[in-house]
Subunit: 258 residues, 2 copies
């Protein structure tokens, strides 16, 4: 949405376009150089929130997730993964001030029974990107987008902070069963680079020896006959993902323990 | 629901009681003696389905899952775990015959716009029980309940077969991160017994030596100074779960690889 008129139409007529009782929130993790961050939008009202929206009446969920992320942040081509549906009965209760703001935009009082005041569950989706390579663009509802450190999140709109924390837990479990890194590392990388990626996402230390052994044993990465020049006495070997095995592992799953 | 009159009221007035667009389906796995089965209900129409229902307007999801399971099968006190929300736009399209049946019970034609004809997403929940210890009771909609082998499921209502298959995948991932077995094994058990439980759920062979080592290393099980008498020359040691560590592992998660 790009204008107040579009927002008015959304408030007044949205129930003819979107499924009632259901929203969808995207938790976008950004990895770069020892850091894992999460993308938050600053609403014009001042609250921090996830990139969320509503599902169209006939829209597949995966399409809804991609559209909402694109509309709210300009980001696309991310693999969004559903991880949990949040449904506490009181999770979406709006404050009097929020209702007043909605009424002002709608130019009519928003009352009990209005679709935006009903109990709304949220389908949580997450994705991981390399945050130095993307530039999120705030939409009409937001005055800005910012990457926040995952262990230092601000207070957030509705239960969005809990959704972000649960997404991080889901990502940390996923990493044991699906390969990660193809879009987060350079095409050729050193073992310390992939080791750092996994340590950063998991938020814990991994064994320097066991870790690469496992990835090599699964055939996910292969050693190249090429070294990276870091200094006079440091030239670690480069590795790359075996794309065929990586894709198969994505589909069939793996079991890792480091 | 126990009578045709209650069903009529549900069809005609259910939209005042339940959230539109949302249902909840329970996949109940039963483990017993080398076998993993799943509980299906046979609808009076003849179709096999999961134990499903709708969420009340103000009802917490966990309460809804427990209530629906109890209403549909009589089972309770199972730990139901949400695993995925199913939302293909066409997943809940009813056949002409189903609509005719609904109309007959409602004593009025069910038409476009009726709450039971709208797109409905389903929140999937699963639980595991020891099936020789429970007796499911069919409700008014069903003519029976049966335990089916997970690798030999019949054709099912809507997308219930896909939901059951996805639940099994979720259970198989969960077992690497949460302990299992406390309610599925006798209080004192042998290593072959717990080994069999894990193999049956995972549907694959596990190393005879590594497997118990991991459980012991995590402190989940402990060896008792007591042996089981199986025959003149077979008296394996008995083990039991360390309940404190087991509960902590449930809460904090573990990482297993066998």
């Amino acid at each position: 949405m790009n204008s107040q008129e579009e927002v008015r139409d959304f408030i007044v007529n949205g129930h003819n376009v979107y499924l009632k009782h259901l929203s969808l929130d995207c938790v976008i993790f950004g990895y770069h150089d020892h850091q894992l961050k999460v993308l938050l939008l600053k609403n014009k009202g001042g609250a921090w929130s996830l990139a969320g929206g509503f599902i169209k009446i006939e829209e597949p969920l995966q399409d809804a997730a991609a559209r909402i992320l694109k509309e709210r942040t300009g980001l696309d081509k991310l693999f969004l993964q559903q991880f949990h549906t949040f449904g506490l009965p009181n999770r979406s209760i709006r404050t009097d001030e929020e209702i007043k703001n909605l009424s002002a935009i709608a130019k009519a009082p928003i009352k009990k029974g209005h679709w935006l005041l009903e109990r709304t569950l949220s389908l949580g989706y997450y994705a991981v990107t390399e945050y130095s390579k993307v530039t999120p663009i705030p939409d009409y509802f937001s005055e800005g987008c910012e990457w926040w450190e995952t262990d230092n999140l601000p207070e957030m709109f509705f239960d969005h902070k809990e959704i972000a924390i649960e997404a991080l837990k889901a990502l940390r479990l996923q990493i044991y069963h699906q390969p990660i890194g193809f879009n987060l590392l350079p095409e050729k990388f050193t073992l310390p680079e992939i080791h750092d990626l996994y340590e950063t996402i998991l938020g814990k230390k991994l064994d320097r020896r066991n870790f690469p052994k496992k990835l090599l044993a699964l055939g996910l990465i292969k050693k190249l006959d090429e070294q990276k020049k870091i200094g006079a006495h440091r030239s670690p070997y480069l590795y790359k993902f075996d794309k065929r095995r990586y894709d198969r592992a994505l589909k069939e799953g793996i079991v890792l323990a480091f």
